[in-house]
Amino acid sequence: MKHFPTLLNHEVRMLLVNPSTYIAATAFLVFMGFIFTGILESYSRAPQETSPAHVFFQLFWLPVFFMVPLLTMKCLAEERRLGTIETLLTTPVTTTEVVLGKYSAAYLLYLTLWGSTGGFFWILHKFAGDARFLDTGPLLGGYLFIAVSGLLFIAVGVFASSLSRNQAVAGILGFTMLFALIIGLRFLDDAAWLERDVLQAVKATVEYAQIFQHYEDFTRGVVDTRQLLFYLSGTVLALIFSILGVEAKLLHS
């Protein structure tokens, strides 16, 4: 892991000098801003049961579907397309260090983007002057959920990027995998054919992997270690597969 700081430093630097980072960040903030104003408008029309933060973070999947593939599709696919992966891997660095460096940089950017939405709540607090709008529980829970689930989402995106040398393919693949993970599992949970006794174990597994349910728990202040374990083990698995993906491509290139 000697080279990890060098690689991470390099990746972060590359993100900072790249105009596409700023374009993506602006697009993200504009999009989230629209959602936030929409939420506030509905609150001004009629009283609601939950706090604005709760509704805001409930829509986490919208930016995840678009931002995560955009942030991660480039990282390994681009290296392979340009051939720089060859120069990179013929220095004394390991594939693990390379993948972890890329992953960490993408995750840091993801956190920064979400972190900047904190400005919305600050503005709300400043102008509304009403403490009820800022329910710290759901707010902190929401951000914690974003940070923990982001680990897995970014890892899935990196894995998709390790499978192709084409950025567009990697992006679409990443989107599909995230869609299956978030929405697909939710549909599966509702499926009637899973109700049978023989499939009890499958049903239990699917229930355990409900990302929307995890979100509800986090905002209610329940941080379940099983859920943490779900994200952590998923992340580790996705990263191991990414490393294998890079190395397998070496073997067959």
């Binding site: 000697k2 060098t6 390099h10 590359m14 051939g83 120069t87 990179l88 013929t90 220095t91």
Partner: protein, 333 residues
């Protein structure tokens, strides 16, 4: 590290892609400080061999060692011993030259303290000082190529492997690169592959010609010329009665023969190509004999076979061997 172990030892290297052999039983060794030129037509297995040497690709079978370290079992040690410039010289487009070299230097474990002066030194050596703050994506091909070479020699590794370092350069830049490679002679072991044959001839101590994954010839350029071609060619411009020429030539040397003959020009001179079966110079004897036979000679030159001739002869020879084998197996079945 003693000088006794060769810088590179390759024995019975085989690499196949999905059952199709790209490199088929290649063996060679390279002493320290030597410059080896790797020649071969497209798809001969040059890049594959180089990639295996760097540890980037695993070999199917065979043994490869760099400075005594086996590539298969000690890839980390080998990566510290080589500087590698891949084919087409991939570089990140959105970095500055000095930034890129700094990043690569850190990856190659050069201490921070030494890295700054070393980068200056390498920039000077590769004549890159003017562009050190430019963005790589905006550099011309020649500069990019030199950035690649600078990167390869940055950590002063004992072995440098460059895949087609002069591809796409203009003659002036080729000269610079050639001088650069020649300046490494004795200090570093260098392997370069190239299509530009005179290039290899000038810079390399030894040449390895491979075709279809096999070594078809190796040795110094002079050795190869003698071994592969095995004869000398003369060009003669002569006027007069040429009917008695074969007898005259036979009298000079039994292996001397007249080859192609051009149509006589307006002044009666004919251009003749003569070939001899060995490489002792027959120029003087030719001049004396032909002049005494009443022929008028305007010019005589001994053709120096270039590496190009050797290369064509060697690769053709291996094709012949292969097509013979196919014919034989076809007739057997």
């Amino acid at each position: 590290m003693s000088d006794a172990t060769p810088a590179i030892a390759v024995s019975h290297l085989v690499k196949s892609y999905a059952g199709v052999p790209a490199v088929n039983d290649i063996s060679f060794t390279l002493a320290r400080g030597e410059i080896l030129g790797f020649l071969g037509p497209n798809g001969a297995g040059k890049s594959t061999t180089m990639r295996i040497l760097t540890g980037y690709l695993p070999a199917t079978s065979g043994h490869v060692a760099v400075c005594g370290q086996p590539v298969a079992t000690a890839p980390d040690a080998v990566k510290r011993l080589i500087g590698y410039m891949p084919e087409n010289n991939p570089l990140p487009d959105d970095m500055r030259v000095s930034e890129y070299l700094y990043f690569r230097g850190r990856l190659k474990e050069i201490p921070r303290r030494k890295l700054g002066p070393r980068i200056d030194e390498v920039l000077e050596l590769c004549d890159l000082k003017r562009v050190r703050h430019k963005i790589i994506g905006k550099l011309s091909k020649g500069f990019r190529q030199r950035v690649g070479i600078a990167e390869a020699i940055l950590a002063e590794p004992p072995v440098i492997i460059m895949d087609e370092p002069t591809i796409g350069l203009d003659p002036h830049q080729i000269l610079i690169v050639r001088d650069l490679i020649a300046s490494l002679r004795g200090r570093m072991t260098v392997i370069i592959s190239s299509h530009i044959l005179p290039e290899i001839e000038v810079t390399c101590d030894r040449v390895l010609i491979i075709n279809q994954g096999r070594v078809v010839a190796q040795g110094t350029p002079a050795d190869l010329r003698r071994e592969v071609l095995g004869r000398t060619r003369y060009q003669l411009e002569v006027a007069g009665d040429l009917t008695g020429l074969p007898i005259l030539l036979g009298a000079i040397d039994p292996t001397l023969e007249a080859g192609e003959r051009s149509e006589p020009g307006a002044d009666g001179f004919v251009t003749l190509t003569l070939t001899a079966g060995h490489d002792t110079d027959l120029g003087e004897a030719l001049l004396r004999t032909l002049a005494s036979a009443g022929l008028r000679i305007r010019a005589l030159s001994r053709a120096h076979p270039t590496l190009e001739d050797v290369f064509l002869a060697a690769t053709r020879r291996s094709w012949d061997v292969k097509s013979d084998a196919i014919r034989q197996s076809a007739s057997r079945s």
